[in-house]
């Protein structure tokens, strides 16, 4: 089970001081947050991708490569990479490069993006969002697996004799997750490829998450990648913790009340009851998240949103200390209890290389048998 954090990269005024960090401060803070995540023993750092203010992460591989150079263990990912408006050729190149630079500590999560104007800014039509995600990913999938690609589709210039460089590290493409909150076609896409499915449930009731994950699992099995409980599932989460629940609630309330997305809407009490947002003691967080698998089955990746809504860097780093030291170690133990041995971990570069090697060995022994058979026939 992997635990990590994901950032939206919003530049939001701190509602308690009215101070807005500069973009420079926010970008540097993002790096510090990622370094802290590794320091406290988390497994994954993922960044969003946005092309409009008040967000800074427009160039995820630049940031991730910089973080990669200053870390040694943490896996670098995205939440999400815009498969709709980015050229799949450029995604193939950028993330294969990142994969080499980080010695395989790279995976990524595809998403469509929900900001209407971004589509026309990149020459696309939001009404084609799902169709773009389907076609672009089909191309990306081939570019990482086929040396020379001839390709023609609806949304980009055809390719004749194209080779995406660099080739993926060790010939093994980065693992891909598909993120979607309410689009069954995307759960179906993840299932079709046997890729991971990430439900960013942080703003949603669990009943909805459960339905979407169940669909993905069922279709994963349908498409022949193994039993439903071996599908690769990730969930979002959002927490704020202090030793006492009262302190946590008092400190977080102004950030909640003014937060982008849900601020000025439901009360913090309603929202924490209805969504995975948990504001309280570390033990409350542990109890809430240890129960997630009761709803979606044993899963592989849990990412937390920690640096949202104008929380100052100092507070975020404190939160990461609590998460890494008090919460995640307990969750790791609790999630391991009763977890069937056949439920896989999330794929990593090492596991995918091993899998490719054993598939090749099987293939060559098949080939040897085939050759012997042919020889015997001669």
């Amino acid at each position: 089970m992997q635990f990590g954090i994901f950032t939206v990269g919003d530049v939001t005024p701190d509602p308690t001081t009215g101070r807005t960090p500069t973009e420079h401060e926010r970008i540097k803070a993002t790096v510090q947050i990622a370094l802290k995540a590794e320091e406290v023993g988390l497994d994954v750092f993922a960044t969003g991708e946005h092309h409009n203010p008040p967000f800074v992460p427009s160039s995820p591989t630049t940031t991730l490569a910089y973080i990669g150079a200053r870390t040694s263990r943490i896996l670098l990912s995205t939440a999400t990479t815009l498969i709709t408006t980015n050229d799949p050729v450029k995604i193939a190149e950028d993330y294969a490069t990142l994969q080499h630079l980080t010695d395989g500590r790279t995976d990524l999560m595809m998403g469509r993006g929900n900001t209407g104007p971004v589509y026309p800014w990149f020459g696309k039509d939001i009404r084609q969002g799902v169709a773009l995600a389907v076609e672009n990913y089909a191309l990306l999938h081939r570019l990482w697996r086929e040396e020379v690609v001839d390709w023609e589709g609806r949304f980009r210039t055809p390719l004749q004799g194209f080779t995406a460089t660099p080739r993926p590290l060790d010939g093994v493409p980065p693992f891909v997750w598909h993120g979607s909150i309410r689009t069954p076609e995307i759960a179906e896409q993840a299932a079709y490829y046997g890729d991971g499915y990430f439900h960013n449930n942080i703003f949603w009731p669990l009943s909805h998450t459960r339905q979407m994950v169940a669909l993905y699992r069922q279709r994963f099995e349908h498409h022949g990648h193994g039993p439903a409980d071996q599908a690769i599932v990730g969930l979002g989460g959002q927490v704020f913790m202090r030793k006492s629940s009262q302190d946590a609630r008092r400190e977080f309330r102004p950030y909640f009340d003014n937060a982008p997305v849900y601020g000025h809407g439901p009360s913090m009490e309603d929202f924490t009851a209805q969504t995975p947002l948990t504001v309280g003691s570390p033990q409350e967080v542990i109890d809430r998240y240890a129960a997630m698998r009761d709803h979606v089955g044993d899963y592989q990746r849990q990412l937390f949103l920690m640096d949202h809504a104008g929380l100052p860097l100092k507070t975020v780093l404190e939160q990461l200390d609590i998460l890494g030291e008090e919460v995640v170690p307990v969750l790791r133990k609790e999630m391991a209890v009763g977890r069937p041995a056949h439920v896989p971990d999330a794929p990593t570069h090492a596991s995918l290389v091993a899998q490719a090697a054993s598939a090749a060995a099987e293939g060559s022994s098949d080939a040897a048998v085939g050759a012997a058979g042919a020889g015997g026939g001669r």
């Binding site: 299932a191 997305v261 849900y262 809407g265 309603d270 209805q274």
Partner: protein, 214 residues
């Protein structure tokens, strides 16, 4: 067994959505008259009508929360489910600032845009004076047209004076209510109960078909 099935086929669920804010409100008063006309006219056609009344005031905060969060919270969720499962709607709004009330519109804004496709709707509006009587035609009917609901021809508008006018019993308002009730009952009688999709993913397009789409 056959009788049992026929009985269940002859029941229609009508959900009344009233956006009146007062207690009592004239919108609710009109809604009650409309639904009783529907029940009477349906009864004459051998249909029995189950009525559920939704006062949007009771879920007003939840409607706005849903607008902001994108999902219906636990108080709004059963209301949405009732509307999405209704065989017909009676929808009544007060006239505010030359249109339907913001709460009325917001409720339909947070419904799934396909929730009312093909659903018969009888619309009503209340206002202080007859100068607003076309609000149903220029604001409410187009909204239901967008949602692809089947709005019956008669929309019933009631100004304050309609409630006290000498001719109001058996007069203008009563005859409009009766006509509208007849129209909705006639549509209800033509169709069986609404088929509710149990599997939310029933319409899923397989990936092979998505890939093949051109």
């Amino acid at each position: 067994m056959v009788d049992g099935m026929r009985v269940s086929e002859d029941v229609r669920r009508v959900v009344v959505v009233s956006a009146g804010l007062g207690r009592p409100s004239s919108s609710r008063l009109l809604a009650d008259r409309l639904v009783s006309a529907v029940s009477g006219a349906a009864g004459a056609r051998g249909l029995s009508v189950e009525v559920e009344v939704v006062e949007l005031r009771d879920v007003a905060h939840d409607v706005m929360d849903a607008m902001l969060t994108g999902f219906a919270g636990p108080r709004l969720e059963p209301v949405v489910a009732a509307v999405e499962g209704a065989d017909a709607l009676v929808a009544v709004t007060p006239v505010f600032t030359a249109s339907s009330s913001g709460l009325f519109k917001s409720f339909f804004d947070v419904l799934d845009s396909k929730a009312l496709v093909g659903v018969p709707v009888l619309m009503g509006a209340t206002a202080g004076s007859a100068r607003h009587s076309l609000v149903l035609e220029h604001a409410v009917r187009p909204m239901f047209a967008y949602l692809r609901a089947v709005v019956v021809p008669t929309g019933v508008f009631a100004a304050s004076e309609d409630w006290g006018a000498a001719g109001s019993v058996g007069g203008d308002l009563a005859s409009r209510v009766e006509r509208a009730g007849e129209e909705l009952a006639a549509v209800l009688a033509q169709r069986g109960p609404r088929v509710r999709e149990v599997d939310p993913f029933a319409g899923l397009v397989s990936f092979e078909d998505q890939l093949g789409a051109r």
